[in-house]
């Protein structure tokens, strides 16, 4: 891909302008995109490539706990695992981040002190996003004040689906400002957007509004990340980079449980936007149980036998 020198992100000054811009985007043929994702799933990644892919995937995990029942104890445990996923093997990379609710950020921050693992907080009335802008911004501000390095916000799907795309855009801009130095991931909640055309448009709205990352899902609705969804979002990211020179990351979240799933996504990244995105700076997995499967597969590659789940800690 050629990133043009001197290209910039256009300033969007009105909803009309945004609408016109979105109308110029190509549609997505669902059969075609699903067919392409299925074909990419036939890639066979074995041996040394597989080991490298597993380590890469581990380094891209945002180890997540987003339950009503979360406690400081739970979060501490998670942080220890994030910093050192396999206590018996120092070669296993740390995860990229830990992802928690805003009121547990301070605790995560201190548990992760001195490590390379970032603290990501969901905010903006996650997961539904159904609250006033004032409340959503306060949610972000508190998380940032508590020490969050990254903010995962949700877009207002109600506004999007009823055509108020200017409002969707403005909210992202406002949240980006409230983030200060924290980097912003914008969750599209693709399961609620349903169509690939919607996902493409929402991706562009988020990127034009200043997202550092676009993210598929909250993991709290039945349909989360899928390979065709990731493909559509990565195509949008690629086209955005070629038009504006700006590189936006992608995070896939929800329902990604196995190494096989993770490698499928890495292949899609590799063959859509290219190897530049194969780094935690630009690609993440939002997951919890995925980490253990990655560790198990890593061990299996080394030992040559299938591993039992109890080999690794549950959390």
């Amino acid at each position: 891909m050629r990133i043009p020198a001197g290209a910039t992100v256009p300033t969007i000054e009105s909803e009309m302008q945004l609408r016109t811009m979105l109308a110029s985007l190509s549609g997505v043929d669902a059969v075609g995109v699903e067919g392409r994702a299925a074909k990419l799933a036939t890639r066979s990644v074995k041996k040394a490539s597989k080991m490298a892919a597993i380590d890469l995937a581990i380094s891209m995990v945002d180890l997540t706990t987003l339950e009503g029942a979360d406690t400081p104890g739970r979060v501490s445990s998670l942080c220890v695992k994030a910093m050192r996923p396999d206590p018996t093997d120092a070669n296993v990379p740390a995860t990229a981040a830990v992802c928690v609710y805003p009121d547990l950020v301070a605790h995560a921050r201190s548990a992760l002190a001195g490590s390379s693992v970032a603290v990501a907080a969901v905010a903006t009335a996650f997961p539904s996003g159904r609250a006033s802008l004032r409340v959503k911004l306060l949610d972000v501000e508190e998380a940032v004040a508590a020490g969050a390095d990254e903010i995962d916000m949700v877009i207002d799907r109600g506004a999007f689906l009823s055509g108020r795309i200017g409002q969707v855009f403005d909210e992202i801009v406002a949240v980006k400002q409230a983030c200060a130095d924290a980097h912003l991931k914008v969750i599209l909640e693709t399961g609620e957007l349903v169509t690939y055309d919607n996902m493409r448009r929402a991706s562009w709205i988020a990127m034009l509004a200043g997202a550092d990352f676009i993210k598929t899902s909250t993991g709290k609705v039945p349909v989360a990340a899928t390979p065709p969804t990731a493909l559509v979002m990565l195509e949008a990211v690629r086209d955005f980079a070629e038009t504006t020179g700006h590189l936006v990351g992608v995070k896939v979240a929800g329902g990604i449980r196995t190494t096989k799933d993770a490698i499928r996504y890495l292949v899609i990244v590799n063959e859509t936007v290219g190897s530049r995105w194969l780094t935690p700076e630009l690609f993440r997995f939002g997951a919890s149980s995925l980490l253990n499967d990655l560790l198990m597969q890593r061990l299996k590659q080394q030992r040559g036998a299938y591993i039992r789940a109890d080999e690794f800690s549950g959390d």
Partner: protein, 488 residues
């Protein structure tokens, strides 16, 4: 972050480790005889010729050169089986044989996929995911017609024709065998099949499958050989119907040869498919569709989308994305599961592709070829796109039958239709647009037997396939595919 892991990331450079399927799954014999009267003849009783692995140029096995005498024996066997057994076999029983064959193809799928890839040069992913499953599906579909011919729309109790002589090409060896045998047998005919000279092996494994299914002796006979063998079959007076898939040149000769005889004939010949892209096409899926249209099966496809007709307003953008995508194609060992484009089937075919491509450059088209490293052994050609092609260029008019795409432009739908139809061929076209009414408008004006909208190279046993004008006549697949094999 652990920097050293990222630096070692093999994924970073599209270098998936080799993931080869094992050639030993194929269980090839060193030499093969013919399949006549339900038995294999002794290989030693025939002149033999080698069939090569086009990816390496080395010999896989030797097969028999069917003589005029052999063809005669095969036809006699088919006639005998027709008169004494098959014409007395009820549709319900014929159906069950065909279902058995379909099932066994499914059971031996992996073996068949490896044989096909070794003999043809196509990527294992394609033989595994497309050729073999479709072959089984065609047998399943036509099995289901055998016991319900009354309802096929050809009147009550339609009758078969008799003995069918069937000559198939090298591009989809097993699949073409299925396309020929399944409807013929379902309708109650018996067959003599002549596989292509460079790809006889999967048909010979199919013969073993027919034995396993306990198909009565002589209902299907398989005679390998070259063009002489094929000619003997075409001219044999004991054959009631000829079905041929191959080049238009040979198709002409065959049609001429049988003109004075009562033989029924169907032909499935060449093409120069126009893949028409409107400015409102879904862009990423369209690029994939263009790639699928011309690089699937190394472009050795009669219905390949070998002419890209792009609306001028988006031509530059389409070309840019296309060239980028072509660079990503993985060309190499067909047995590697990650290979996208395999070997050219023969030295002869490679020479043709090279000749026409060189001509394309001389004619003034702009050539973009993948920078992929080609293996030193075997027959290989880098995927190529020619831009700035004019309607009068040879590469816009002649079938190259290789991984070479010729790109032209148009301004309006009428012009697209006119350019697409400006060919003696008429097999397949593609139309890319999000506007349904326009797609349908274009489709009804295209002179092509198959039109794909927002997709390309999709095949299904229920869907009739065949050409117009010099792409041949007759249809394979669907209810329509029965017509060629019924006396109606």
């Amino acid at each position: 972050m652990t920097e050293h892991h990222l630096a070692n990331s093999h994924l970073g450079f599209l270098a998936y480790d080799p993931a080869p399927e094992s050639a030993s799954v194929a269980r090839l014999r060193p030499s093969y005889g013919l399949f006549i009267g339900g038995e294999f003849t002794d290989p030693a009783a025939h002149d033999q010729f080698a069939t090569l692995n086009p990816a390496t140029g080395s010999s896989l096995a030797t097969v028999a050169q069917g003589s005029v005498g052999d063809v005669d024996r095969a036809v006699a066997s088919a006639r005998h089986a027709y008169d004494t057994v098959w014409s007395k076999t009820s549709g319900a029983e014929r159906a069950k044989y065909l279902f058995r064959i379909a099932r066994i193809i499914q059971e031996r799928a992996r073996e068949l996929a490896v044989v096909e890839t070794l003999d043809n040069g196509k990527p294992i992913r394609e033989s595994r995911d497309i050729d073999i499953p479709l072959a089984a599906a065609y047998f399943f579909y036509y099995a289901g017609w055998a016991d319900k011919l009354d309802h096929a729309g050809f009147g009550p109790d339609p009758q078969p024709i008799g003995v069918a002589g069937q000559i198939i090409p090298w591009n989809f060896p097993l699949l073409m065998a299925a396309w020929k045998l399944a409807p013929a047998l379902a309708a109650g005919n018996t067959c003599v099949l002549k596989p292509a000279e460079t790809t006889p092996l999967s048909a010979l494994v199919l013969a073993e499958i027919l034995q396993q299914a306990e198909l009565p002796a002589g209902v299907v006979n398989i005679v390998t050989g070259d063009g002489v063998t094929g000619a003997a079959l075409v001219e044999h007076p004991g054959v009631d119907k000829i079905a041929f898939t191959g080049s238009t040149e040979v198709g002409r000769l065959i049609q001429e040869r049988v003109a004075a005889s009562p033989k029924r004939l169907t032909l499935e010949l060449g093409g120069k498919g126009a893949n028409i892209v409107f400015e409102d096409a879904p862009i990423d899926e369209m690029i994939e569709g263009i790639i699928d249209g011309i690089f699937f099966n190394q472009g050795h496809v009669c219905c390949a989308g070998s002419r890209l007709l792009v609306q001028e307003s988006v031509a530059d953008e389409v070309l840019r994305r296309l060239v980028r995508r072509v660079e990503q194609l993985r060309v190499g060992d067909p047995l590697d599961k990650n290979t996208d484009v395999g070997a050219i089937n023969s030295a002869a075919q490679l020479a043709k592709i090279e000749e026409l491509s060189a001509f394309g450059e001389r004619e003034g088209a702009t050539r973009y070829s993948s920078s992929c490293v080609l293996p030193t052994e075997g027959y290989w050609f880098a995927p190529t796109v020619f831009a700035n092609v004019a309607q009068s260029h040879r590469i816009a008019r002649e079938e190259i039958f290789g991984p070479v795409l010729s790109m032209l432009t148009f301004r309006t739908p009428d012009e697209a239709v006119a350019k697409a139809n400006n060919t003696k061929y008429g097999l397949a076209c593609g139309v890319w647009s999000e506007k349904g009414s326009r797609t349908l408008w274009v489709a009804e004006r295209l002179r092509a037997g198959v039109i794909w909208a927002n997709t390309y190279n999709r095949f299904d046993p229920t869907s009739p396939f065949g050409g117009m004008r010099e792409s041949g006549f007759g249809r394979e697949g669907g209810r329509h595919g029965l017509e060629a094999y019924l006396n109606v």
